[in-house]
């Protein structure tokens, strides 16, 4: 026999109590994992951003456009390697529920600046060739079961009418955190149409995207761009892609902070629950601890028993909890996945769950172990009988 055997037997002495506590830990770790993943998903856009990309927008607001004529001027600014532009189209596919981020872009320069959107060469060529073409991310294509050659209609919201596109390519992400839910089509297609129907909205873009030679150039180039358009009709605001993404997120950052707080509160609550179980357990066993002390076992041995039992409970709960995080994340992804292009459980989250459950196991055992270590034998024995 080994002391570990005693730990195991002690743990499952009150089966119902132990399993209920384990269930509590499981649910807590599951909640913790999902909440952490949610927070990570929120920030994924930021992490996926490149430090050699700048975004230029209208300095008043993102909703105001910039003239197409800026492209040439930006191109000439030292440090700028390539310029592209995009328009937030905001079309709806069949129903409002099917949220797909969709943009009108300038294909060649855009794909050059975003090498993480990977397309087979033939699909890329087909996309460039056909002005009514569109490429979609792997996840959207799978979600709506789109095949190359399909005609996909979007209902315009900002730009009225029904717009038909032909799917010429399906891109996949070069990185794990690359957004595979987007939909890109030719800016020209939009612009030609606007020239006829809404000429005053033609020849405009939403944002410019600049590729710079070196991340260190970002402040200088940004300044130079904004300086160029100072006192013109549309003044610009240029920032790194990361701060551009963050400016979106900051709108909801308060919520993210709350989610983070809740995820830690869940851990504190379960700490109280496990501590309660351990206190009850240790109190019942004071007599047995006294016997063991009588036989020559020290406070150290009793601490091993108590910490061991507490950690066994939290570790089992953690394993179940983490295991359940995967199917739960899958369900999550299927239902609201398009709002979070990347919703995967990171190794970091799993390690954090393990760390949290270990911390819970340790904290819950501190008081009982301290008490058991200090109990005087003669007193402890008195409680038996």
């Amino acid at each position: 026999m080994h002391l570990f055997k005693l730990i195991y037997r002690n743990t499952f002495r009150h089966k119902q109590r132990t399993w209920l506590t384990i269930l509590g830990v499981t649910i807590a770790i599951l909640a913790f994992g999902i909440l952490r993943t949610l927070v990570n998903a929120w920030y994924a856009g930021v992490e996926a951003s490149s430090s050699v990309r700048l975004i230029t927008r209208n300095s008043i607001s993102l909703v105001f456009p910039l003239p197409l004529s800026y492209k040439e001027k930006i191109q000439r600014i030292p440090g700028v390697e390539n310029v592209s532009y995009a328009v937030w189209f905001n079309g709806t596919y069949i129903s409002e529920k099917n949220f797909i981020p969709n943009f009108a872009i300038e294909p060649e320069s855009f794909l050059e600046i975003y090498p993480e959107y990977v397309l087979p060469d033939d699909q890329k060529a087909a996309f460039f060739r056909d002005r009514g073409a569109v490429i979609a991310g792997r996840k959207v294509a799978e979600r709506f079961d789109w095949k190359i050659g399909d005609t996909i209609p979007l209902i315009g919201t900002i730009y009225p009418g029904t717009w038909n596109f032909t799917l010429r390519g399906i891109y996949h992400g070069a990185e794990k955190n690359t957004d595979e839910t987007q939909f890109f089509f030719h800016w020209n297609y939009l612009n030609e149409s606007l020239k006829k129907s809404l000429p005053n909205r033609a020849d405009q873009v939403g944002i410019y995207i600049e590729k710079i030679a070196d991340p260190d150039l970002a402040p200088r180039v940004s300044e130079a761009i904004d300086e160029t358009f100072k006192n013109s009709l549309a003044e610009t605001l240029t920032e790194t892609e990361k701060s551009f993404q963050l400016s979106f997120i900051s709108m909801t950052e308060a919520i993210v902070v709350v989610i983070q707080l809740v995820s830690f509160m869940v851990i504190i609550i379960i700490m109280a629950v496990v501590a309660n179980t351990m206190v009850m357990t240790a109190r019942e066993r004071i007599g047995e601890y006294a016997i063991m002390k009588t036989l020559g076992f020290g406070g150290w041995h009793l601490s091993v028993l108590i910490f061991g039992e507490s950690l066994l409970i939290t570790t089992i709960g953690c394993v179940f909890g983490v295991a359940l995080t995967f199917p739960s994340a899958k369900i999550f992804r299927e239902h609201i996945g398009t709002y979070f292009p990347v919703f995967t459980i990171s190794l970091n989250t799993m390690l954090l769950s393990l760390a949290a459950s270990t911390l819970v196991g340790i904290m819950a055992a501190v008081a009982p172990a301290w008490h058991a270590t200090r109990i005087r034998i003669a007193e402890g024995l008195r409680r038996i009988g």
């Binding site: 037997r9 016997i291 002390k293 036989l295 020559g296």
Partner: protein, 230 residues
Amino acid sequence: MGNRKQPIVEIRNLSKSYRRGSEVISVLENINLDIPEGEFLAFMGPSGSGKSTLLNLIAGIDGADSGMILVGGVDITSMTESELAYWRSINVGFIFQFYNLIPVLTAFENVELPLLLTWLSRKERREHVEAALRMVNLSDRMDHYPGQLSGGQQQRVAIARAIVTDPTILVADEPTGDLDRASAESVLGLMALLNREFGKTIIMVTHDPHAAEKAHTIITFEKGILGAPV
């Protein structure tokens, strides 16, 4: 009876009191006692007279206020808590009124428990445990849990646990206090056997005159004062 051999336990000017709030209750006052090796000693006397207190002091599970206790020539009153724990694991076998077995361990595992503190190999431990259980006639109940054994059987397992480390002294606090006549008889017979055949020094607290009969010497307590050995 008595002084056949060198004393294994020597108690000198031992005092012990308990504090209950501001009140100090003196339980033992200036006790002197020699217990020879191989003795089978019984403490008797009214409830609250300090029998258990003295036994616990001799066994090193409680601390004295003043005085000295030498066991095998070693002063245990000057030991630190961890020194005492180690000393107990080697020198003292305990038998209590309520058997005090660990309910989630089998008879075998309960007897093995004190051996986990030794450097014995698994195989050696097994041999010791089997020998001890054979001694108390429970070889066929090794895999039973305490809840599956009668009171008398549980107390015999406790005796096996007490002797498995081959201690210097055996202390027993009302070992038959919770047993019926027949079980008590078998437990007492076993203790007498350990004393007679294996030369174990036994110190026993009891209320039962029948149990005391098995002892060589009876010391009667009266409010912390020891009567003369009888």
